[in-house]
């Protein structure tokens, strides 16, 4: 693994190299800030039989990239939109694309603020329970050795996640948690959607920096699902896609 520590990370580089050299002094992170790169494959989502698709492709890149920051302490995390990508200014914004997610990992609660069309929702619910299947596959993400786990969420969505045990906080981007360490990579292969950490900073995070969002219409996930299904029932395939994205 000393072969290819990606340099992208690290303020932490020296720490990690040190950690390599002397394993007994391994430093485990229990607070810090992670920058995630979220990528959507816009072309894959297009309807191949729609004659307008070819034209839409000219108007947008294959991948839409957005950035999110995840602030974490030992038992809490806050995921929120990060730096702006000006390439997206011409691309249509979709519902629930700029979520703020607060996770209380000890108590299994989460508060997510989601802008879905005209309505700002505040989803207060328990953390998503995911039945993770641990595998033996590993890869290095942002300088951290990660292990792969697979799961199915929301009855049908296949999730591939990579977590590191070098970070003690059992959190992750959006609603993905529940592995014995920090999730630094998530892919929903059939939704053509990925989140990968590109930078991990070992910075001090004050408790006051991680607070649940307050604004928005208070709902739970089942209520949100029902609301969206009622409103988008005549939207066909597009509507189902929006509902699915909003509930992730």
């Amino acid at each position: 693994m000393h072969l290819c520590r990606s340099l992208s990370a690290l303020l932490l580089l020296s720490v990690i190299l040190h950690r390599q050299a002397s394993a007994q002094n391994t430093i485990f992170l229990s607070e810090g800030k992670i920058e995630f790169e979220k990528k959507i494959n816009l072309y894959a989502r297009m309807d191949e039989d729609n004659s307008w698709s070819e034209l839409e492709k000219k108007a947008m890149p294959q991948f839409k990239t957005t950035y999110f920051d995840l602030l974490f302490t030992r038992n809490k995390s806050l995921y929120k939109p990060g730096r702006e990508n000006t390439d997206n200014n011409k691309i249509w914004e979709q519902p629930a694309e700029e979520n703020v997610v607060y996770s209380d990992l000890d108590n299994g609660r989460s508060v997510s603020q989601k802008k879905i069309f005209e309505q700002l929702f505040l989803v207060q619910d328990s953390l998503r329970r995911i039945k993770w299947k641990i595998t033996d596959e590993t890869r290095v993400i942002a300088g951290f050795n990660c292990r792969r786990a697979n799961a199915i969420i929301m009855d049908s969505i296949y999730v591939v996640a990579f977590y590191t045990d070098e970070i003690l906080t059992p959190g992750g981007p959006e609603s993905f948690t529940g592995l014995p360490g920090m999730i630094l990579g998530v892919s929903l292969p059939h939704q053509h959607l990925t989140w990968f950490a590109i930078k991990v900073q070992a910075v001090k995070v004050a408790d006051t920096e991680i607070t649940a969002p307050q604004k928005g219409k208070k709902v739970t996930n089942p209520v949100l699902k029902q609301t969206l299904q009622e409103s988008l029932k005549q939207w066909g395939k597009e509507g189902r896609y929006y509902i699915q994205s909003a509930l992730l």
């Binding site: 000006t86 039945k131 014995p180």
Partner: protein, 949 residues
């Protein structure tokens, strides 16, 4: 390498279980307690230490997985002393896994019986670096030497079994190995990433996912060294490469045809026969159609076009600089959006069309072509009542017309686009066509003075035989330069149109003075017209990014627009032949415009805000030459083309937009040519060679708000426009009732428009309700009998729509609108035209059992009478049909329809402008019944399943 050893080690300790299907829901997350299982549960205790130094390891991860499927049941971390505790463990077979950074994983199976807590002996982990020294790893063997950066394998060349996975395919490729854990080695190096069409492929877990990527879906396998993400991100090559495989998928296999046959026979000689067919093979599409009909159908409607003709999307283009889409619909007077004849009279059509398109070379090249032929005959009659308002008096005019027109049209168009690489492309478009037209009309008219005394009477026949030819072409080259946002494009356009016509005018007019016959005027002429227009236009555009969000764009172009119009009128000579040139109604004119134009514009594209502003400056010179009088003239104009727009998106569904544009319209050769046209001898037009370009300004503010979740929307627009040197008219009406019209430039024309649409869903009864209101006001300045005439017109409309649908049961739609129109002219303020008109249209579809469907719609128009419009024009049109669907997929429809059941339809038009008000009614299709059969057929090869949703 270390990972390999980990695996080896794991392999020794246990082999990972074969994953099994479905799992009972019971999952431990984190250290907090597991939901209590029924029955006793167990506590596991242990300690983790380092083998070498015999030190305890804190923060080691301890995972308990279910043995059958590796689902994580519970996990914890060791404390400072290396101790851990897992509590509330239900009895069962488990896999016990310990991980620690830089140490090899420890795994063991663990059977828990519900009898006693377990205290494990201390577990010692081994540093991976230590392991490396002890295990000799075989180097890769049989490395194959491959040239170039990329090695590409064509998947079809390697035989795989039906249903084989991608891994099975990769195993067959030389230089590629796949181990039993799915790890891939290419050319001796471990493959870091597998991409599918550029997107990372993670490999599907067959126990979780049923959709899998199959070998037969792969077209090509490309193996290459990918630069590190860091290098790609910063642009600085750090020299790191990772072996990458990209799987290019095949285009979905499609091969088949579909089509539609309609046969309809009606009462009163009505018929409607249509055949449409679409043949497709992969990306090739060949479509054709034929229509024989006299019910108004003259071509494909927009839904049919997508399937059986040139789709609208195929005519559209996207401009990367402005972010705008544009649709280049060829200018065609006979082709309408709904594929139906829109004019007066009874149309009889025979038409056919052919469409072909194809894409190849990985979609880098595309070709598109169309051919159409149409023979359209239209016969009919119309009558017009008009009122001319003069300063001191007014005239009423009534005219009846019957007409017989025929046109034979051939048209062809095509486009070819080639993308040389990701940065440059060329698109070539061309179209051309011929029209052969014969027209014949006969008129009779009568003009009355305000006291109803006869002023004049006219009967005439006008016929012509004309041929048009057009050839248009356009070539566009676009190039993206290395700096992001820097682009260059060149566009060259050519238009050519030529018209030749030969016609005859035969007219007899009697003039009366104070109701008493005064004199006659007879015209018997032949007309020979020859007009031609050639346009050549070039434009080069360069865009330079000023920042990530702002751009400056410069353009420069030259344009030559040459027109000639040779119009000759001949009277009969003594030999009875039309050889004597009538110079009053003859002229040969050339009008050439040369324009040099350049400009700058600035554009800002932020997430919520967009702004652009700029102007072009054009130097235009007119060369006008009268060949008959042998005079020439040259005039020069400086024209501005300013544009500005500002838009703000409060959210995706709420936007406002403010736009300004200034534009110049050049006069046409018909407006300039100093010739009198006497096709209607009581309505003569004269050209004006001194006409200047008009400059219009339009400001528009619009607002749009759509609430998706509550289904409520608001559209609102306000626009205001004013024109300098507006091309208007000067009208002289003599005491004989004869009008002479000439185009002149005026100032003071302006228009104002405001509208608002409000739609919402009334949730409880599930009704969609919409209200709308629209307001139009305009002022037109003209000169009437040497007096400046300002006409103020207004048009105010409001109405509503109600829509309700119940899937597979019924659909009801009601719309209603009321319109108030008023107009008055400054030359005679005593006369004010104002009237109301109402429109009401309920429609209903009911879906009955046994695949019966009943449709009915009303269109009720009520129009108030005025002093001019004295006839009753209230019309109730009722259409209805009943149909039944048969066969699989409802492929066959049998339908009986009644058109205009009450036999009330009339063609109708009211025009209120300046000092001229008229009402036109014309013959149109009325009541008939038709029985028709529609058969949809299809044979399509099953497309290969695609990866993903």
């Amino acid at each position: 390498m270390p990972r390999l050893i980990t695996l080896l080690l794991l392999g020794f300790i246990l082999s990972y279980p074969v994953f099994a299907q479905s799992v009972p829901a019971n999952q431990g997350t984190a250290t907090p307690s597991l939901p209590a299982n029924n029955g006793p549960s167990i506590l596991i205790k242990g300690k983790i230490k380092d083998t070498l130094e015999n030190k305890t390891l804190s923060n080691a991860s301890v995972l308990l997985l279910r043995q059958t499927d590796s689902i994580l049941v519970q996990y914890t971390r060791t404390d400072k002393a290396g101790n851990f505790t897992l509590s509330h463990i239900p009895a069962g077979h488990y896999l016990f896994l310990v991980t620690y950074p830089a140490y090899a994983d420890y795994a063991d199976s663990l059977i828990i019986k519900d009898t006693a807590d377990i205290s494990l002996p201390p577990i010692a982990l081994i540093l991976k670096s230590k392991l490396l020294e002890e295990v000799v790893v075989n180097g890769s063997k049989g490395a194959i030497h491959i040239k170039g950066d990329t090695v590409e394998f064509r998947a079809d060349s390697f035989h795989t079994q039906a249903g084989a996975t991608v891994e099975d395919l990769l195993k067959k490729l030389p230089g590629i190995q796949v181990d039993r854990n799915g790890k891939i080695t290419a050319q001796g190096e471990k493959v870091q990433k597998v991409l599918v069409d550029g997107e990372e492929f993670f490999g599907d877990d067959p126990t979780l996912v049923t959709q899998n990527l199959r070998a037969d879906m792969v077209d090509k396998v490309q193996v290459f060294d990918k630069k590190s993400d860091q290098a790609a991100f910063t642009g600085i090559d750090d020299g790191q490469r990772s072996k990458t495989i990209n799987l290019k998928l095949k285009n979905s296999k499609k091969n088949g045809y579909f089509g539609k046959v309609t046969a309809g026979a009606g009462t009163d000689g009505y018929y409607d026969e249509q055949v449409m067919l679409n043949l497709f093979k992969n990306k090739k599409k060949l479509a054709l159609y034929g229509i024989l009909s006299n019910t108004g159908k003259t071509g494909l409607n927009w839904q049919e076009r997508d399937k059986y003709g040139q789709s609208f999307s195929g005519m559209a283009d996207y401009d990367e600089n402005t972010g705008n889409y544009s649709v280049n619909v060829p200018d065609n007077d006979l082709e309408t959006w709904d594929g139906r004849y829109g004019g007066q009279g009874f149309p009889t059509v025979k038409t056919a069309g052919l469409h072909y398109n194809d894409k190849w070379d990985d979609d880098r090249q595309s070709l598109n072509g169309n051919y159409k032929v149409m023979q359209l005959g239209v016969n009919g009659s119309s009558s017009t009542s008009s009122q001319f308002i003069l300063p001191d008096t007014l005239y009423y005019n009534k005219e009846r017309q019957t007409f017989h027109n025929q046109i034979l049209r051939h048209s062809i168009d095509g486009s070819y686009e080639v993308k040389f690489d990701s940065t440059s492309s060329v698109k070539i478009m061309a179209d051309g066509g011929t029209d052969h037209k014969t027209t014949g009309s006969s008129y009779s008219s009568q003009a009355l003075a305000s006291d109803s005394s006869l002023v004049n009477q006219n009967t005439r026949t006008v016929s012509s035989l004309s041929d048009n030819r057009i050839v248009n072409s356009n070539i566009m080259w676009r190039k993206k330069l290395p700096k992001k946002g820097r682009t260059l494009s060149v566009n060259i356009r050519e238009n050519y149109a030529q018209n030749t016509s030969l016609g005859f005018l035969n007219s007899a007019t009697s003039f009366y003075s104070a109701g008493v016959f005064s004199h006659d005027s007879l015209i018997d002429q032949s007309k020979s017209y020859h007009t031609q227009n050639t346009l050549l236009d070039s434009k080069i555009t360069y865009t330079e990014p000023l920042s990530k969000t702002s751009f400056l764009s410069a353009n420069y172009g030259l344009s030559v627009n040459n027109s000639s119009s040779d119009r000759s009128s001949f009277n009969k000579s003594s030999d009875g032949k039309y050889t004597a040139l009538d110079s009053l109604y003859s002229n040969n004119y050339q009008f050439n415009i040369f324009t040099q134009q350049g400009g700058l514009s600035y554009m800002l594209v932020k997430k919520k805000l967009r702004f652009s502003a700029g102007t072009n400056l054009g130097f235009t010179s007119f060369h006008q030459r009268d060949l008959l009088a042998d005079t020439t003239g040259q005039r020069k104009f400086t024209n501005w083309y300013p544009q500005a727009s500002f838009s703000y998106s409060f959210t995706n569904q709420r936007r406002m937009n403010l736009q300004y544009s200034g534009y110049t319209n050049q006069p046409t050769v018909q407006q300039l040519q100093p010739i009198r046209t006497n096709e209607d001898p009581l309505n003569i037009t004269i050209g004006n060679p001194g006409l200047k370009p008009q400059f219009g300004n339009q400001v528009r503010l619009s607002f749009f708000d759509y609430k998706v979740l509550t289904d409520r929307s608001i559209w609102a627009n306000i626009s205001y426009g004013f024109t300098q040197n507006a091309i208007s008219s000067r009208v002289d009406v003599g005491s004989s009732g004869q009008r002479v019209t000439q185009s002149i430039n005026v100032n003071g024309n302006h228009n104002f428009n405001a509208n608002i649409y409000y739609d919402f869903k009334w949730r409880a009864p599930d009704l969609h309700i919409g209200f709308f209101t629209e307001l139009n006001q305009s002022r037109n300045v003209s000169v009437v009998n040497d007096l400046l005439n300002k006409t103020n017109s207004g048009n105010y409309q409001f109405g509503f729509n109600i829509y309700k649908t119940k899937e597979k049961k019924y659909e009801i739609n009601v719309h209603a609108a009321a319109t108030y129109t008023q107009s008055n002219s400054s030359i005679n303020t005593g006369i004010c035209t104002d009237y109301w008109s109402y429109n009401f249209g309920p429609a209903m579809d009911v879906f009955l059992p046994l695949k019966f469907q009943v449709h009915t719609d009303f269109d009720i128009s009520l129009r108030q009478k005025t002093p001019v419009f004295t006839t009753n024009n209230n019309v109730v049109i009722l259409n209805a049909w009943i149909g039944k669907k048969f066969l699989k997929n409802d492929a066959l429809l049998i339908k009986a329809a009644g058109n205009d059941l009450l036999n009330q339809n009339i063609g109708f038009n009211r025009t209120v402008n300046s000092n001229f008000i008229s009402e036109n009614t014309y013959s149109t299709i009325k009541r008939y019944f038709m029985f028709s059969i529609v058969w949809n057929f299809t044979k399509a090869g099953t497309p290969a399943p695609t990866n993903g949703n």
